[in-house]
């Protein structure tokens, strides 16, 4: 396997799908010559032309709504939403329109569209360019939600998203764009199916269930635990919708202890849903309370002195894991 960046993996996935299927096109703000501010799409307009890599005006509700209409009528749009924070601008088109067309029509209409956007704080981008809003869309039936955690995942999940007949929101970790990792050669096409969590490490003492940016935190925390003589299961959730409950529950039933990590705000977040399902369905296997780590319930602050602590990190994850394993959890 080659080693390429997350950004290159995304670019390859889009290019391969554009080559494969002429009904696929991509639009968004500064996606063509500019290749987005993150340069993820550089080179695509040169190969596919401005008819398929389309610069839109700065009109997020407009171009998301138009993508819904285009998807309803025989094309498969990939929409680039420059920052995850802009989801708030497109909520009606995404949640009232895209998500509900299949259902409201009794299954007669479908919306095969992909909304690519991003998540992740600690980039010193302050409160309106740093949010991780996956729970917001995962709450709406009719949308699928994918959260790649590595270059390989980014490519495989995005290719599956393009081929899905439903609206898929895929969140890329914008801090990971330059991260490198192994990805299969282009001729070895890999589609990562939705609804199958990925067990990255196998252990006995604790389960670390994580999404996207937090998978890296979980993996490093597992290493920290190893140094203390403990082993952890590390589960990459991959897709919040559909959620592979079985893999998560099997892991927790085995280890009896779990920390759930997601970079969205902790309250009412993705970690809450996963923790609740564990409490509901693996209660008698638990040896310790279920712990959730999400971002603090504060708007993301600008100052580095403030920002870093608001996101779950390795040190606190290891500390908490040791408490759970050693039975040192204080009873309130």
């Amino acid at each position: 396997m080659r080693t390429i960046t997350f950004s290159q993996a995304v670019n390859e996935a889009i290019a391969e799908e554009l080559r494969r299927d002429p009904t696929v096109f991509l639009w968004g703000e500064d996606v063509a010559e500019a290749g987005t501010p993150f340069k993820v799409l550089s080179g695509l307009v040169e190969e596919f032309g401005p008819e398929r890599i389309i610069d839109t005006p700065i009109s997020e509700p407009g171009f998301v709504g138009m993508a819904v209409g285009a998807a309803l009528t025989g094309t498969r749009p990939i929409v680039d939403l420059m920052f995850g924070d802009f989801l708030f601008l497109v909520m009606d088109q995404l949640c009232n329109q895209a998500a509900k067309q299949s259902y409201m029509s009794g299954g007669k209409l479908k919306v095969p569209m992909v909304l690519r956007t991003n998540l992740g704080a600690t980039r010193r981008s302050a409160a309106q360019h740093s949010q991780s809003l996956q729970a917001l869309v995962a709450h709406i039936p009719g949308l699928k939600v994918a959260l790649p955690s590595s270059p390989r995942e980014a490519k495989g999940l995005l290719k599956s998203a393009v081929r899905d007949d439903n609206p898929v929101v895929i969140f890329e970790d914008k801090l990971m764009y330059q991260a490198k990792g192994p990805v299969p050669e282009p001729e070895e096409e890999e589609l990562i199916p939705f609804g199958q969590a990925n067990r990255l490490q196998e252990g006995e003492d604790l389960s670390l269930v994580a999404t996207s940016s937090m998978v890296q935190v979980a993996e490093e925390a597992a290493e920290g635990l190893r140094a203390e003589g403990y082993s952890a299961d590390v589960i990459d959730v991959r897709t919040l919708v559909p959620l592979d409950e079985d893999t998560i529950l099997a892991s927790v039933r085995k280890t009896g202890r779990v920390i759930v990590l997601d970079e969205g705000h902790q309250s009412y977040g993705a970690t809450a849903e996963i923790a609740s399902r564990i409490a509901d369905k693996a209660f008698y296997h638990l040896d310790a309370p279920v712990t959730r780590f999400g971002a603090w319930d504060v708007p993301v602050p600008f100052s580095p002195a403030l920002e870093d602590q608001t996101v779950p990190d390795v040190a606190r994850t290891v500390e908490r894991a040791l408490q759970l394993i050693r039975g040192e959890v204080a009873r309130a």
Binding site: P61, G62, V64, G65, L109, G142
Partner: protein, 346 residues
């Protein structure tokens, strides 16, 4: 639709207005007669839907389009099977005009399995998708993006189709309309914004909600804009023909301001309307500007139909509607477990 309404005596003004556009739409007599039938079908559908609601046989809420038949039929008569429409919460008329039939429509209204949307849409999302109806949308302005996107894909795929976005004057207050009009103009998309200006957004007159002139809003984007008498079927048809021709020729979008009137309230329960419009105004529109007798008069004058024939059309459609209502009332509900189907396309 009762026979009495069909043949109601029209006034001199109305006759004059009808004559003015009598030769402009270029349709055969049979096509004109069918357009008349379509308007009568809409009226009959709405009369029966209203009755179902008043008798508490219909769940939920509904919005009547009675009075607006000519805009729905006039625009849809300009379309063919390549074309798409999007509709609004006041969408029964568009659905009929695009070719839907009574039985699955009433079934949908009553939440029955045989409804066009298997009972999952109801009045506000009713649509015959196979006839190019991309759905009635209950968010004001909510389908403007969808219609414009459908126009984009028609152009992208080279289908030759056009997309019509039916919207009410209330939707002129929604920002997304201007975002998509901008892109429609930039990219010369084959889209028609058919704005049914019934002069009231819910319970408020347009003068209290719209600054400036609505046509100028479209023209600011370089979009062709035209004001049309929405009660004059032939005028609407002719304007829609021009817009469709422009769209198919690659000349881009058109905005049609179709001035019309809704006879009922915003929704069926909106009975006491005196705080926002007068009885006299309502009576004026019904007596002087009803699109059905106005167009019936044209058919009579041109010798396309006799008064007796028009009466017979009204009676036959009334019977058909009543039969469909009976059918829908007896039709089975979907099984409870169907609530979990269709959340995702399979």
């Amino acid at each position: 639709m009762t026979a009495r309404k069909t043949t109601r005596k029209t006034t001199k003004t109305a006759r004059k207005a009808a004559r003015k556009t009598v030769d402009s739409a270029g349709r055969t007599p049979e096509q004109l007669l069918e357009a008349y039938r379509q308007m009568v079908r809409i009226r009959a559908f709405e009369d029966n839907a209203n009755e179902l609601y008043l008798q508490a046989k219909m769940p939920g809420l509904t919005h009547m389009s009675s009075g607006q038949e000519a805009s729905a039929v006039g625009v849809c008569e300009a379309l063919d099977e390549r074309d798409k429409i999007t509709s609004t919460h006041r969408g029964h008329g568009h659905c009929v005009a695009r070719g839907a039939t009574f039985r699955p429509m009433f079934c949908e209204l009553l939440g029955k399995e045989e409804g066009y949307c298997h009972g999952k849409g109801g009045s506000m999302h009713i649509a015959d998708q196979e006839n190019g109806n991309l759905g009635a949308n209950a968010i004001v302005g909510g389908s403007t993006g969808i219609a414009t996107g459908a126009a984009f894909s028609a152009k992208y795929l080279g289908t030759g189709g056009v997309a019509v976005c039916f919207l009410g004057d209330g939707a002129l207050g929604q920002g997304i309309l201007y975002e998509v009009m901008n892109m429609a103009a930039l990219w010369k998309l084959p889209v028609i914004y058919a704005c049914e200006n019934n002069q009231y957004g819910e319970y408020t007159h347009i003068d209290e909600m719209l600054a400036g002139n609505m046509l100028e809003r479209a023209r600011a984007f370089g979009i062709e804009a035209e004001e049309v008498d929405g009660q004059d079927l032939l005028a609407v048809m002719a304007a829609a023909d021009r817009a469709v021709a422009r769209a198919r020729a690659g000349e881009g979008a058109t905005f049609l301001a179709l001035k019309t009137y809704r006879y009922f309230g915003h929704h069926v329960g909106d009975i006491n309307r005196s705080y926002y419009r007068t009885k006299e105004e309502e009576e004026h529109w019904k007596a002087e500007r009803d699109p059905i007798p106005l167009f019936g008069e044209v058919l009579l004058e041109r010798g396309i139909a006799t008064a007796e024939e028009l009466t017979a059309i009204g009676e036959a459609i009334s019977r058909e509607a009543e039969e469909a209502v009976e059918y829908a009332l007896e039709a089975p509900y979907p099984p409870a477990e169907a609530a979990r189907d269709h959340v995702y396309a399979s």
